[in-house]
Structures are given as structure tokens and as C-alpha cells.
């Protein structure tokens, strides 16, 4: 099994750092692709005031969307909120992940208690399964579900399932093989973030902010002051 360990070490070391670098580079590219047009839109508009307090209040209210979930008493919202908690906390703060983050970024993060991490993992897996089932059964959801939506859910489920199974007593493969699957699927997920809708994890504040910019009219624009409907008014 020496080979397996070597592959695992490679996947956890250089390959992980590569995936992380690709993630950062991809996000940076997207940042530029958003911020540059946003800046030029702001430059173009005559009314340059932005309702910062409203934008920030909205973003904050959706970061902790308890009031929104309560207002609708809506299963989908509650499930997806719980799903997101584990999805963010477990990859970052699981005790076994800390050394990875230290070697890749030099950051030492606090560890989650093991019991809590296990519970969060199970909740995330359950949440993702419920979301998947809703996507496949609800008529409206099915109408609008893209292949991407299903693929992304599967890509999230995979590292959580393999990571949980690796340490479990019912693991059908060897610990190392399951761990390898876990590491590879997690790296695939990391690389996918900038290229799929997963990028909302970083970019969701921008859509609110750009909605405000998008509705600003362009300064000194002849188009706006050219008589509209002139042709129709004559007929």
C-alpha cells in the first residue's frame, strides 16, 4: 500500500495547494470582471449616490436569514440555511483539516469539537439530500432546474459523504482509499467554485450593489433626451 500513501500525500500536498491557488485565481478574475464594469457604470452615471445603509442592511439580514425563514415558515429556506451552516464550518474548522490550512496558507484556525463536526456533517448531507429531492419532485423546481444545479449538489455531497465514511466503521474500502476520494472530490469542488453558481458564496453581496448601479441612468446621454415615441406620435 506504499503507492496509495504516496498518491494520498501528493493529493493532500501539492495538488491541494494547486487547487487552492486555482480557486483564488479564479475568484480574483471574477472580482476584476465584476468590479471593473461596476466602476465604469458608476463613472458613467450622473447620480452617483448609493444607498449604502440599505444595501448593507439587506446583506446582513440575509446572512442571518432567521426573520425571512420565520416570515414564510418555508421548509426549503430552513433546510437550505441549515445546509449552509455545515457547508461553511466543517471544511474550515474540522480538526483534521487544520494542518492542511496551516501548510497551505499559514493560518491556524480553531478546531470544531468532534461531536459537533459530526452532527454538522450529517445535517449537511441530510440537507443536501432534501434539496435534491425537492429539486427532483416539485413540478416548478423541475421546470427550472438546470443540469448545473444537480451537478453542483452532487459535487457538494461527494466530499461530505466520503469524508464521513472514511472514519466510519461501515467503510467498504480502506481508510486511505476513501480519504483519497474525499481529497480529490473536495479539490474538484474548490476548482469548480469560480466557474459555477457556487461563486455566490463570495459574490452574493455584489448583485444587490450592482442592481442599484444598473438602474442609474447614464450621464449626458443623447439617447435619453432624444424625443421618444416621435415616430408613433405622427401616425
Amino acid at each position: 500500500m506504499r503507492v496509495m500513501e504516496k498518491i494520498l500525500l501528493f493529493a493532500q500536498g501539492p495538488l491541494f495547494r494547486l487547487a487552492f491557488a486555482l480557486l483564488l485565481a479564479g475568484l480574483f478574475r471574477r472580482f476584476v470582471l465584476i468590479l471593473w464594469p461596476a466602476y465604469s457604470a458608476w463613472r458613467r452615471s450622473r447620480d452617483r449616490s448609493l444607498n449604502w445603509s440599505g444595501i448593507l442592511r439587506d446583506i446582513a439580514s440575509w446572512l442571518v436569514p432567521i426573520s425571512h425563514a420565520w416570515r414564510n415558515r418555508d421548509l426549503f429556506t430552513v433546510v437550505s440555511y441549515i445546509f449552509h451552516i455545515g457547508l461553511i464550518l466543517v471544511p474550515l474548522f474540522l480538526a483534521e483539516h487544520l494542518s492542511l490550512w496551516r501548510t497551505a496558507t499559514g493560518l491556524s484556525l480553531p478546531a470544531l469539537p468532534n461531536r459537533l463536526a459530526d452532527a454538522l456533517t450529517i445535517l449537511t448531507i441530510a440537507g443536501a439530500s432534501v434539496l435534491l429531492i425537492v429539486r427532483l419532485t416539485s413540478r416548478l423546481m423541475r421546470t427550472f432546474t438546470r443540469k448545473e444545479d444537480l451537478l453542483v449538489l452532487a459535487m457538494i455531497l461527494l466530499p461530505f459523504l466520503t469524508g464521513y465514511a472514511a472514519g466510519a466503521s461501515w467503510n467498504p474500502f480502506s481508510y486511505n482509499f476513501m480519504l483519497l476520494l474525499h481529497v480529490l472530490s473536495a479539490e474538484a469542488l474548490m476548482i469548480a467554485i469560480p466557474f459555477t453558481k457556487l461563486s455566490h458564496c463570495i459574490f452574493f453581496p455584489f448583485s444587490r450593489f450592482c442592481a442599484e448601479l444598473g438602474s442609474k441612468l447614464v450621464n449626458d446621454n443623447e439617447y435619453l433626451y432624444k424625443s421618444p415615441l416621435a415616430k408613433e406620435s405622427k401616425s
Binding site: D58, I59, N72, R142, T143, G214, K226, P228, L229
Partner: protein
């Protein structure tokens, strides 16, 4: 299929089969001249397809047709934008391009046009989007493109033509009639409310220029009387204009050029009369068009714009107007117009006014930012062809809300909502009357027992 013909708004020009190409061309020219491209490219990356927007849509709740969801409109427009206007490398989601079900593949432009004009632009979906995607903005962009192509619903297009090239207001109401109405209103205020109140006309250098929607001069005279009495009692230097008096701005619903041209007319009038502040009367979209886009206009510098709700509530707070609550003993329910509450963020002023001028008022559930639209927003109320649609589908939730409140009077500080709610009350046979907020102010400011007030319209 039958429902389709009934709900289709009559446009100024027929939709041809090759309209999609023209649509793409028009989209290109609108994108060049505006900032709409920015949100479109970002929404393509952040929309997770959770469909909360669709659950919140009052039209979809009734019809259950996927083409009525905000998500459908946004998706289709984003898809066209991505396919034709974004470089391949920025197309974001690699797999986004593929749609799944057969139903979606039968998409055609006619569906999109119908969907766009059936939207009431209420922005309830935007409030419920975790990503903050402004579906109203996207629908509005779609309508801008259609307007560029000349595919405007007849009523909206003709009203705007009348306002810009014709007599100067959306209802083609001549100047002589306006002067007559003002004379009549002065008399009527004295007869009905026992108050002597002068309505100053075309006075130069006034503090406030009051612009009401034109319907206030014709059908909602009580509102205009209430506003006149309030401003008169405040003792401010105010005026109305007889040259250009219509605050209505249908451009907000479908075209930035109409929006800016009409706004330009208002600003020109303000410059002519050398006023400091323009006050917009009780009208949701007029308020939003003026307050939201005032700073975008080239000539607006040096003039402020305010809503009459803000002016009145400020006067009540300062004590310069003292309404008597006992004059309005009925149970009143407040309707929040979308453009005023969600559009301009004016939430408290109307409540302060109601607290000061009536004995009992209740809220609808839900209210404020999450209120339901009256069902006639976005120009739906003025399209005759959509009458069945707006009453049977769009306004059903509203009718239930009103019924649940057990109120005798529905108060809506918006001319558009009042027109719609009158129809709703008629159609669903609700035992309530519909008034504006300044109708109540007028009663609360009257000096003798109001014997001749006609509030019941039902």
C-alpha cells in the same frame, strides 16, 4: 389557450415571427446606452435557482403557470444577454447554457413579451431573493427593449404621446378644464368642509410646486382638496401649475426616455415658476419616478423633490397642522403602494398621518416591504385588455387581505392603487370604500360637521 387571448395586452404594433432578431438588435442598442448590462452579467453568476421569488409572486400564486414567475423572465433575458453579448470566457457557468425540460425548449419571444407585460413590477420578488437579484430591474429592461422596438401596450404608449406631444397630460385634459376644476374645488372645499382655502396658481418664487397625478383633477377630487387644505393650513408659500400639472410618469413602467422626457417637463415647469421644492401628490409611480431619478436629470440641480406624505407628516410632527381625529371614526385599513414603500422607502410618514387623523387604523398582513401589490401596478391597471387578468388573477390576494382586515375604509396613498382597488371592491363586492390619505386629512381638518362628504363609492 382561451385564457391566453384574454390576457394578452394590445400592443402598438403586431409581433412578427422574426421579432427575435429585432429583439436582439434592440437589446444591443439599449445595453450600449445604459448600465443594465452590469446587473445582467452578475445575476447570471449568482442566481442559484432557489425559486423563492416565484413563491412570493402573487400572479404566479394564482395562475400556477411557470411563465408568470419572475425567475422565468430573468432567466430568459439573462440567457439572451449571455449568448449574444457576453464574451465566451465570461459566460460563467459552463453548464448554464443547457436547459433541462422539454417545456422550456418550446420558448418563444411571444411568451416572454406576454410575461413581461403581465408583471406588475411590484418588487416583492426582489425583497425575497437571498442573492438580492432585482427581478423588477430585469423585467424593466425587457420592457425597455420592447419599447425600443415599438412594442408598447397601446394605452401606455398613447398616454405618453398625449403627455409629451399633445395637451400635456396623460388624460388629454385641456388647460381650461383644469382652471375650471380648480375654481370648482375652491368652492367645493368651502361647501363641504367649511374651510376657506385658496389654491394659488402659477405663482412665481413659491416654496412648493404641487404636482398631482391628473386623475386627482377628475376622479379623486377629495384627495386634491385635502392636499390643498393641508398646505393652506401649514401656511407655506405654495402653488399649482396650470401649464403643466400632471405628475404621472408612465415612463417608469417601460421606457427611460419617456421617463426622462416627462421628468424634464416637470423640471422645466419648476424652473419657470422658480420654485425651490417640487412636491409630488399621492401617486406611487410618480413619486418613484421623480424621487428615484431626480438626480439623474441634467437640469434638476438646485431643486428638491419630496412626496406630499413627507410634507404632511412633517407638518403634523411640528404641529403646524392639527387634524381632529374624531372626524374619522371608521375602522381604516392601510394599503402600502409598492412604489412608495419598496420603491422610495417611505414607510413611516403615511402611518404618522393616519395616527394623527383617524381614530382607528389597522395594518394589512403582510404589510410594509412585504405587502402585496394592488394588482394593477406596472401599467396593468390602465390596459383595458388586461381587466379580466388584473381582477381575477392579480388582485385576488389583495381582495382577501381587505376582507380579513374587517375595515370599513381602505386607505391607499396612490392614484394608481385607488383606481385598481375601486375595481377590486366592485368586482369582489367588498363592503368597503376606497379613499386616499388626504381625503381623511380633509375631513379631519374640516370645521363644521361634514354633511355632504361622499365617501362611499361602492
Amino acid at each position: 389557450m382561451n385564457a391566453k387571448a384574454e390576457y394578452w395586452p394590445r400592443l402598438m404594433k403586431p409581433v412578427e415571427d422574426d421579432t427575435l432578431d429585432e429583439f436582439i438588435r434592440a437589446m444591443g442598442s439599449v445595453l450600449r446606452e445604459s448600465n443594465y448590462g452590469l446587473p445582467l452579467s452578475i445575476y447570471a453568476q449568482t442566481c442559484t435557482g432557489c425559486l423563492r421569488c416565484s413563491q412570493e409572486c402573487q400572479v404566479f400564486q394564482e395562475t400556477g403557470d411557470f411563465k408568470d414567475t419572475p425567475h422565468f423572465r430573468t432567466e430568459e433575458i439573462i440567457r439572451l444577454h449571455r449568448e449574444f453579448f457576453l464574451p465566451e470566457s465570461q459566460g460563467n457557468s459552463i453548464l448554464n447554457r443547457s436547459t433541462t425540460t422539454e417545456e422550456r425548449e418550446r420558448f418563444n419571444l411571444k411568451d416572454l413579451i406576454e410575461s413581461l407585460y403581465r408583471c406588475t413590477l411590484c418588487r416583492r420578488c426582489t425583497e425575497s431573493c437571498p442573492m438580492g437579484i432585482d427581478h423588477r430591474l430585469v423585467a424593466r429592461f425587457g420592457r425597455q427593449v420592447l419599447s425600443e422596438m415599438g412594442l408598447v401596450p397601446q394605452n401606455m404608449g398613447k398616454s405618453a404621446i398625449e403627455q409629451i406631444y399633445g395637451i400635456g397630460n396623460t388624460s388629454a385634459f385641456p388647460k381650461a378644464a383644469i382652471v375650471d376644476t380648480l375654481d370648482f374645488l375652491e368652492e367645493d372645499i368651502y361647501d363641504t368642509y367649511g374651510v376657506k382655502c385658496e389654491i394659488p396658481r402659477d405663482k412665481k418664487n413659491a416654496d412648493f410646486l404641487m404636482l398631482a397625478p391628473i386623475s386627482d383633477y377628475m376622479m379623486e377630487a377629495e384627495t386634491l382638496m385635502g392636499i390643498s387644505m393641508t398646505l393652506d393650513r401649514m401656511g407655506v408659500n405654495w402653488t399649482v401649475s396650470t401649464e403643466y400639472c400632471d405628475a404621472i410618469n408612465y415612463g417608469l413602467f417601460y421606457d427611460d426616455r419617456v421617463l426622462m422626457t416627462v421628468l424634464g417637463k416637470i423640471i422645466q415647469e419648476a424652473h419657470r415658476l422658480r420654485v425651490k421644492t417640487v412636491v409630488i401628490g399621492e401617486c406611487g409611480h410618480a413619486t418613484r419616478a421623480a424621487m428615484g431619478y431626480w438626480k439623474s436629470h441634467l437640469d434638476a440641480e438646485g431643486i428638491e423633490v419630496k412626496s406630499i406624505l413627507q410634507v404632511t407628516s412633517e407638518a403634523i410632527r411640528q404641529g403646524s397642522v392639527q387634524p381632529q381625529r374624531e372626524k374619522n371614526p371608521e375602522r381604516i385599513v392601510l394599503h402600502d403602494p409598492c412604489n412608495i414603500v419598496r420603491g422610495c422607502g417611505i414607510f413611516k410618514p403615511q402611518r404618522e398621518i393616519l395616527e394623527a387623523c383617524c381614530m382607528e387604523y389597522v395594518e394589512m398582513q403582510p404589510n410594509g416591504r412585504y405587502n402585496y401589490c394592488c394588482g394593477g401596478g406596472g401599467g396593468v391597471v390602465i390596459a383595458e385588455d388586461l381587466e379580466k387578468f388584473r381582477l381575477e388573477v392579480a388582485a385576488k390576494v389583495k381582495a382577501e387581505q381587505i376582507k380579513k382586515s374587517n375595515a370599513e375604509i381602505v386607505c391607499a396613498p396612490c392614484a394608481n392603487c385607488k383606481k385598481m382597488l375601486r375595481e377590486v371592491v366592485d368586482f369582489y363586492k367588498l363592503p368597503v370604500s376606497v379613499v386616499g390619505i388626504h381625503d381623511l386629512m380633509a375631513k379631519a381638518l374640516s370645521v363644521e360637521a361634514p354633511s355632504r362628504i361622499e365617501t362611499a363609492v361602492a
